[in-house]
Amino acid sequence: MLRIEGLKKVYGQRSVLQGLSLHIPPRQIYGLLGPNGAGKTTTINILCNLLNADGGNVLIHNQPASDATKALIGVAPQENLIYKSLTCEENLNFFAQIYGLSKRQRQVQVQSCLAAVGLADRAQSPAETLSGGMQRRLSMAIALVHQPKLVVLDEPTTGLDIEARYEIWELIRHLQNQGMTILLTTHLLDEAERLCQRIGILKQGRIVAEGSLPELRRLIPAQEILTIQTPDEEKAIDRAQTLGFPHRRYGSDLAFWLPKALELKEIIAHFDGIPLDSISRQPVRLEHIYVEITQRNADEG
């Protein structure tokens, strides 16, 4: 559905994309992650033909990205770009007209998109009267109104409360079930973990790690992550080193990679003599992989 090969983009002296390549098969949700400035938005701009690449190819549904492929893509940008004084139905109807849908098609599509995003009962409500989550759903409905082959969701839940996030996640899954291919960019790693079949981690304009979550987990030689709080961190780190547990810091948290799953009493026994305020275990999460990959590449850089 989407194939990007060797994509390059340079702004002045700054190389933003340095040979980005990725492939998204049909009906897949692909998560594109990366720190700010990694090149996510530049990639979307090139996909939408808003920017010209300085090298490489973008094929959307086997066609090179151009004005002609704009109709194949539905984009829900970070902000809710909607006409606030128009009703939900009028917003959708306007964009359906812009995408060249006939009157009959518009009637069907507008109602079907409103139903898909759960706004059928708010069809006649002005967009400005909707909550933030509803406005985001309307923005997504606009992206869907012309039945695109590829849907690009740029940080779809940023700034939303948890309830609204759940609704958006449900909607994204629904879209996939409807047969859509989705490119999702997000800073929320649990969002990518929940939704994406494949994840690409973008760093300084190239994909530095890619795969399904189980595949990415293999990049870290750990079964579990142990996080502890102790007033004597130095001692805990020394003890962990003797046990062969590599240590990492995730923000202010001190964590150890456990090469195999251990019983809680075994863990406590390992740290005998060290005062522990709290202790928690969790499976390797995308957050750990992401920090490791981006950190590793920064160190290599």
Partner: protein, 257 residues
């Protein structure tokens, strides 16, 4: 057909937004009515004209010199600036909407408003006894060229100078009001001193006023207003070209998500 559908969509959307907010529509209706009444009464009193004649003379200047200026120029600046502020322009950039359709959509929407204002001003003037006898096609052409000029200037200002809604009022007040006075929208140009009249002849609003007043109120034919007409025509073409270039320049800067 693509351009047609897109143009209609943009025009409908602008009109719908105006209808929803209503405030602008009310102002754009009240303003020409008040200016017409004031202009008509002043002319009747100070130029010793009969009421019907005074309103016949006042209506064209009120329409192209004042009403269309605020609705079509101020309105198109406000449309572009509001799209930039709400960032809905970005959404349009990622859609297949062409720049031509976008411009035409704004032109059609403001033409509809302009036509509404024309009917309002004409109806009130006619109610007060004015009779408009000129060539209707020529009248419509002058009005459309005036609207085109204003929308073109609106595009230039909206894409290049006005970044926020507050800027629209400042721009219209700073440049617009002096141009309107100099164009004869409030005082007939025949009252201007010689030097001011020379300056007025460089002002497109003066030519809009003169052309429409001469045709609609005095019954002149095309040959009688050729200099005004061609000035207006060339100005309209230049403003559309300028508006188009400005729009493209804005695209280069803002065509990003």
């Amino acid at each position: 057909m693509k351009y047609w559908h897109e143009t209609v969509a943009v025009a409908q959307r602008i009109l719908l937004e105006l209808w929803r907010r209503r405030r602008s529509l009310i102002f754009w209706s009240a303003f020409p009515v008040l200016v017409l009444l004031l202009n008509g009464m002043i002319l009747a009193e100070r130029a010793n004209l009969e009421t019907a004649q005074a309103f016949q003379q006042a209506a064209p200047a009120t329409l192209v010199g004042a009403a269309l200026f605020f609705s079509c120029l101020g309105g198109s600046v406000a449309t572009v600036v509001s799209e930039r502020e709400q960032q809905t322009l970005k959404r349009l950039f990622i859609s297949p909407l062409s720049g031509v359709s976008y411009f035409l959509g704004i032109f059609v929407a403001h033409s509809a408003i302009g036509i509404g204002q024309t009917l309002l001003v004409w109806a009130i003037a006619a109610f007060l006894g004015a009779q408009f006898q000129g060539n209707i096609l020529l009248i419509v052409l002058i009005i459309l060229l005036s609207i085109l000029s204003y929308v073109g200037v609106g595009f230039i200002l909206g894409t290049q100078l006005a970044r926020r809604t507050e800027d629209v009022n400042a721009l219209v007040a700073a440049f617009g009001v002096p141009l309107l006075i100099l164009g004869g929208a409030f005082l007939p140009a025949s009252l201007f001193p010689e030097t001011l009249l020379k300056l007025a002849k460089l002002n497109p609003i003066y030519h809009m006023n003169e052309a429409l007043t001469n045709v609609a109120a005095n019954g002149d034919e095309f040959v009688d207003i050729t200099s005004h007409f061609w000035f207006l025509m060339i100005f309209a073409v230049l403003m559309v070209a300028g508006g188009w270039l400005s729009y493209n320049r804005m695209l280069q800067v803002e065509r990003r998500l």
